[in-house]
Amino acid sequence: MNWKVLGAGLLLVVPLVAVLASGIGNDPKGVSNALEGTAAPDFTLQTMDGEPVTLASLAGRPVVLNFWSTWCQPCKLEHPHLQQAASVYGPKGVVFLGVLYNDEVAKAKPFLKRNGSVFPTLLDPGQRVAIDFGVAGVPETFVISSDGRITQKFSGPVSYQVLAQSLEPLL
């Protein structure tokens, strides 16, 4: 055994692996944590039926804001969960809003008709609001407390249980 080679090699290799390991689980594009706790950017958007909705006017009620599209498979997966959460927590005062992300009304309407829809979906021309919220892909779901702060952001599909856990403390 050549101890010099072993020592030098391990001296190079062990810290390298340690540093790499420290990076695991980090999100280098980590906007998610940065947004949590900050005030949600305000917006006024129209629903697919042309009704304007302003976030500020919903102050005093928790809001679940879900960015989705018909071309996204995980969005289809989470759709029934959102519907269920809306039918349970809607009556308790939580406002559920969908935001159509880079998609066409002509596709979204039949989708909602087929799969059910208990809350309105807003149109976001030019993805302005998606950009304000730092949406990187769909689905993303923001939970906003009654004082207008983002308490949680979920990237990827949410389940009913996760949403329920997130909403309970806000009621």
Binding site: M1, N2, W3, V5, L6, G9, L10, V13, L16, V17, V19, L20, A21, S22, G23, I24, N26, D27, P28, K29, G30, W71, C72, Q73, Y101, N102, Q127, A130, I131, V135
Partner: protein, 661 residues
């Protein structure tokens, strides 16, 4: 059906690798012919099964079989055929499938080229490379399984990442890099085999060197194509950004380049054995590090795949491979016959190679440090920072210049003794060309210190290289009465390895000059054009002729028609565009590049205001960029000349007298 067949193929590959690893090690320890024969068959089986898995996935993509998870993830009925084909490596799981396929072919190739020769070493080499195969087959069979069944199957998929659909180079750039990355497994296995068997004979080194030139050549081409792709597609007009993933491909290239040089010292002088083997091991380990970087989501980069659970698994493999290599090296390095005596005089060829190796090692370490520094910093202070181009340029430029300079000195140095006064005579032409280089630079307004220094060392290195190519041919022409072109051809054929190497050197010089010039002298203008109103920009007259929408099944494009004229003569109308893909929020630009030997005109569309009739563009005038790709082509040509297998007997017959010189 496909999910079942694909999974079967992957499991067969995994089984073949696992069995072959064990039988190979057994054959290595016990010198068992039977076990070695089994190991070979396992290598072939791995090659066949991983090929089958690859073909099945391509079939599923073309058949729009959305019951296959990966097809549902990246497939689409709307994409053109070539995009369907490249979809296989557009996302994480498919890229690992491709990795397994390429590895299977390489390992089978290793089994084939070593048949009937070096039984002890081959057994270990196959065992080690199949052990790497176990890991990748395990990934494909487990957490990265692309063949998972989706039930119910969706009717259509989103198609691959739009950036990747944007250019035809996507067909060749990633597979070329994979051929380079994955191919490093073979020299690694051969180096490890030498350590495990405790010997490293000259024939094995020659075979190893050729097996290294194959992935090295692919890596070279892959890196150059990557630069080209980024230049043609990304719209910022650059080709190299010191992005972690670019660095990941550059680091193994550096160590492999160092190896190609130190192997010559080892072959001729039986010296630097431990160091040379370390470079072989390092080249492979750096490719695994690079793969970890792209796939773990730890580094922020345009190339990275999304976050995935594969990171920790890869890190574990990397850690195991690192520790295995270090321990193996420490335990066995002294058994490779220790070097006899020191290196010859201070100005000998050996010392030149040693200096070259130290520079390459320093550059590798610099790049590695810069790449992991953000992680190091975040770990220490909790803050995310990026090191960025200034660090790499400041640290890399002197080392790069020194390497090119050495390229001008090394080939002129004699083997085995220190250079005498004759050396100075041989450096006359190179020195003159260095002066010419500087004069040319000053005359053309390239008055930056680093640019002029690059011109000087490039002229110097070019002089030496041309002289080395010229001198033997001239001598031959004079003594044998051949015409000069015939003599040049004969000399090239007679010592292909050496002259192939010089052709590569010329390619590197061309790239160094082009890179320094283009980096220093590129003009960049942001211009807003009003329709039909000509503007003079960067020496051209550009006129915006209006915009149009083009519909394709997989995208809609907004094209701005720009008429380019120079000195009153219209060159043509070109259409930089913004592409809108259905799965992507932001549009992605496709620039227009008008390439010439002297300079490129690069138009990148930023925005079109259809109502106001205006278009905003980035207009870049970039000198000598074409020469970057030409230099890459020369490097490929030189590599082919050097590595092309001669018929076996002739190759070994010729190598002996050369080594004895």
């Amino acid at each position: 059906m496909i999910p079942l067949l694909g999974r079967t193929a992957v499991l067969v590959a995994l089984a073949a690798c696992a069995v072959g690893t064990v039988t190979g090690a057994f054959a290595g320890v016990k010198r068992s012919e039977t076990a070695l024969r089994w190991t070979r068959w396992m290598a072939y089986a791995f090659g066949a099964a991983s090929t089958a898995a690859f073909v099945l996935m391509e079939y599923a993509l073309f058949a729009d079989d959305f019951s296959v998870a990966y097809v549902a993830e990246v497939g689409s009925t709307q994409t053109p055929h070539w995009v369907t084909f490249v979809s296989l490596w557009s996302s994480l799981n498919g890229s690992i499938l491709l990795w397994g396929f390429v590895l299977g072919v390489y390992v089978a190739g290793l089994a084939w080229t070593t048949r009937g020769r070096y039984p002890g070493l081959t057994a270990w080499a196959l065992s080690v490379s199949l052990a790497v195969g176990v890991f990748f087959s395990f990934l494909v069979a487990g957490i990265a399984n692309p063949f998972e069944l989706v039930d119910p199957a969706p009717v259509d998929g989103p198609g691959p990442n739009p950036l990747l659909q944007n250019h035809i180079l996507m067909v060749i750039h990633p597979p070329t890099l994979y051929l380079g990355y994955v191919g490093m497994t073979v020299p690694f296995a051969m180096g490890a085999a030498a350590l495990l068997a405790g010997r490293m004979d000259a024939a094995w080194v020659r075979l190893l060197r050729r097996w290294m030139l194959v992935p090295w050549g692919f890596l070279t081409v892959g890196i150059v194509l990557g630069g080209w792709w980024s230049y043609e597609v990304l719209g910022w007009g650059g080709w190299w950004a010191w992005d972690p993933v670019e660095n990941a491909s550059f680091m193994p290239w550096l160590t492999a380049t160092a190896f190609v040089h130190s192997a010559m010292v080892m072959e001729r002088k039986d010296q630097l054995k431990g160091w040379t083997v370390s470079l072989v091991l390092a080249s492979f380990l750096l490719t695994i590090l690079g793969t970890f970087m792209t796939r773990s989501g730890v580094f922020n980069s345009v190339h990275s795949f999304t976050q995935s659970p594969i990171g920790p698994v890869f890190l574990t493999f990397l850690a195991v491979a690192l520790v295995f290599s270090v321990v193996l090296l420490a335990a066995r390095v002294d058994t490779l016959s220790p070097a006899t005596g020191g290196l010859a005089g201070p100005a000998s060829r050996e010392v030149g190679f040693l200096a070259n190796n130290l520079l390459f090692a320093a550059l590798t370490f610099t790049v590695l440090l810069g790449t992991v520094y953000p992680l190091l910093n975040e770990w220490a202070t909790g803050e995310q920072i990026s090191v960025g181009q200034p660090y790499f340029d400041r640290m890399g430029a002197p080392l790069g210049v020194a390497i090119v300079f050495l390229m001008g000195v090394g080939p002129a140095l004699p083997w085995g003794r220190s250079a005498s006064g004759a050396l100075l005579a041989r450096l006359g032409l190179p020195a003159a060309l260095a002066v010419v280089g500087v004069a040319l630079g000053i005359a053309t307004g390239m008055d930056g210190g680093w640019v002029l220094l690059t011109y000087a060392v490039s002229g110097f290195a070019l002089g030496t290289t041309l002289l080395e190519l010229w001198r033997p041919a001239a001598a031959r022409a004079a003594s044998l009465g051949e015409s000069l072109p015939v003599a040049v051809g004969k000399v090239l054929v007679s010592a292909r390895r050496r002259y192939g190497g010089y052709v590569v050197h010329v390619g590197v010089i061309v790239i160094a000059v082009a890179h320094a010039t283009a980096t220093f002298a590129t003009e960049r203008h942001s211009v807003t054009f009003t329709q039909d109103t000509p503007k003079d920009v960067a020496g051209y007259t550009l006129t915006y002729k209006g915009s149009e929408w083009q519909d394709q099944p997989h995208r809609k494009s907004l094209v701005a028609n720009i008429e380019i004229a120079r000195d009153g003569a219209v060159i043509g109308t070109f259409g930089p565009r913004l592409n809108h893909y259905k799965s992507m929020g932001q549009p992605i630009g496709t620039p227009v590049v008008r390439s010439g030997l002297k300079e490129d005109l690069y138009l990148s569309l930023v925005n079109v205001d259809e109502q106001a009739g205006t278009a905003s563009l980035d207009v870049l005038r970039e000198p000598l960029v074409w020469w970057l790709w030409f230099g890459g082509g020369l490097m490929l040509l030189g590599t082919l000349v050097a590595a092309w297998p001669a018929s076996g007997r002739r190759a070994s017959g010729r190598a002996a007298p050369q080594a004895a010189k």
